[in-house]
Assembly symmetry: C2
Homo-oligomer: 339 residues x 2
Amino acid sequence: MGEFELIERFFKRKEAPAPDGQAQPAIHSIALGIGDDCALLQPKPGMQLAISTDMLVEGRHFFADVDPEALGHKALAVNLSDLAACGAEPLACTLALALPPERAADEAWLAAFACGLFALADAHGCALIGGDTTAGPLNLCITVFGQVPLTQALRRDGAQVGDDVWVSGTLGDARLALGALRGEWALPPDVLAAARQRLERPTPRVALGLALRGIASAAADVSDGLAGDLGHILQASGAGAAIDRESASHLIAARAFLSSAGGPFDAERRLTLVLTGGDDYELVFTAPPAARTAVQAAGEQAATPVTRIGRIEAEPGLRLIDAHGQTTPWAARAFDHFA
Amino acid sequence: MGEFELIERFFKRKEAPAPDGQAQPAIHSIALGIGDDCALLQPKPGMQLAISTDMLVEGRHFFADVDPEALGHKALAVNLSDLAACGAEPLACTLALALPPERAADEAWLAAFACGLFALADAHGCALIGGDTTAGPLNLCITVFGQVPLTQALRRDGAQVGDDVWVSGTLGDARLALGALRGEWALPPDVLAAARQRLERPTPRVALGLALRGIASAAADVSDGLAGDLGHILQASGAGAAIDRESASHLIAARAFLSSAGGPFDAERRLTLVLTGGDDYELVFTAPPAARTAVQAAGEQAATPVTRIGRIEAEPGLRLIDAHGQTTPWAARAFDHFA
């Protein structure tokens, strides 16, 4: 199977995906898709295009034996998560794919990968409009395009002193699964299965990002760990934050098991999973206290739990506050691919 | 040096690049660049965004010991070439970079790569607005954004029976250099040096693409070889073409040397270099005979030689015509990464 046949068979849709009732494919914005030198895309009048790129490398971002359907899902999900963090509505994506010969010849693998990718793309009305295919060590590079009304994009630099700090969903479970898969610790099968879903099939919080337009003062997605990604907001906004230790500890979905398990999962480890785990693809965002009801309503509208965990302060850096009001500094660390 | 420091030091510009008098950076279109979850981009009113992605893999698209400055140039040039083929004006690009540890630690290599990339980007007013950096086998994935007035994009599917077939510049010299570097044949130092420039520092024909708007009926860039890329136009347009064997043979810049050298460089080899060499990044395009003067004027305006080499015909496939009017079919083959 050659390069052009591979694209034709697995990545060129014969017709527009059927609307699923929830999200209409934004085909009206796309004049020309796969099969020319460029794709042509047009945001609606008064809209800006939001653009993000993420590259996934075998052995670094996923295991060689990962379920290809989950990989297709995740490769797009991590990009949609960036659109969510900007409050942008997904429009389209491109896919550049380097494949070793054995993968290029593995039709079942390619079909499952494409299936995972298109299922998530269709759910968000995100058309695959172009890309590139080449031989090489397995590498997936997706660039995603969304639209957002002028001046309404959620940015990292808008946090104000006194704002609340919020996060969506749960944090730390992806890292919990990764540790088990790496043999760092053992987990019961049901706990591992649930955590592994979070690692391999993250849910981009697109609906929440849209609902937070005009409400959140700043936002980022949690890909490198809460402490690091909140740290990016703090740095861009020239501020610091105090996080409630108790609220943060409760953010891990496996908290019931972890509390009873003890051993390697003491309180400090649980907190570290939440603060530095990474691969969560939740949103961390800030909003003024006057907007608390609006934030809760946005969470309900998006069917996404939101939790208030702290406050923006003038003093730079990240601090943890315990139940007795004691604060301890947290050396903000993000996951670093070259550290 | 960590991931964020690497981006900060080598890929985040402190200020807009100085205008060079030829091309103004289109910063007015960019609301938010490197350092947020998404970049924000906006074509001018009445414009569509043209988008293309190319991935370059070490050992496949370039040698491990390639001059990093030339690599930075080429990684962007091959993408700008796609914009040229659509008649789009460059606006911006994203860069996703997988680096092995020894490259990530090699500041001279990174600085030279960034220098080559930014020199070409500045010459075309193309801002680097985002990207991704990760550890992994060396892989460069650039997505480029241009703008083109509604309905004026040059496409592959517009060739009409009776149109002339044109190409810009010279073809086959990149493949000539590649063969010498691979040890397939030997070249005198001056011939190799000239051909190697074509391989390592291709010139994207952006100005020509812009000048051909409203004149060319179809266009593509020559990345996989003239026969293959013209074949894409023929397939998309539902037509065939007859190419003049003599005109095609003359398209290789090293023709004087090759004619005198003989040996491995017989007439058939020279023709094969032109038709299937690839990595040329010239434009192949079609236009009605009534537009010949306009095409020549567009070439002069863009300071790019253009040569008429054949004609679009109703009969599918690609044929060569010799000086005696004899036609022979050419089995259209494009370079295929998995062949």
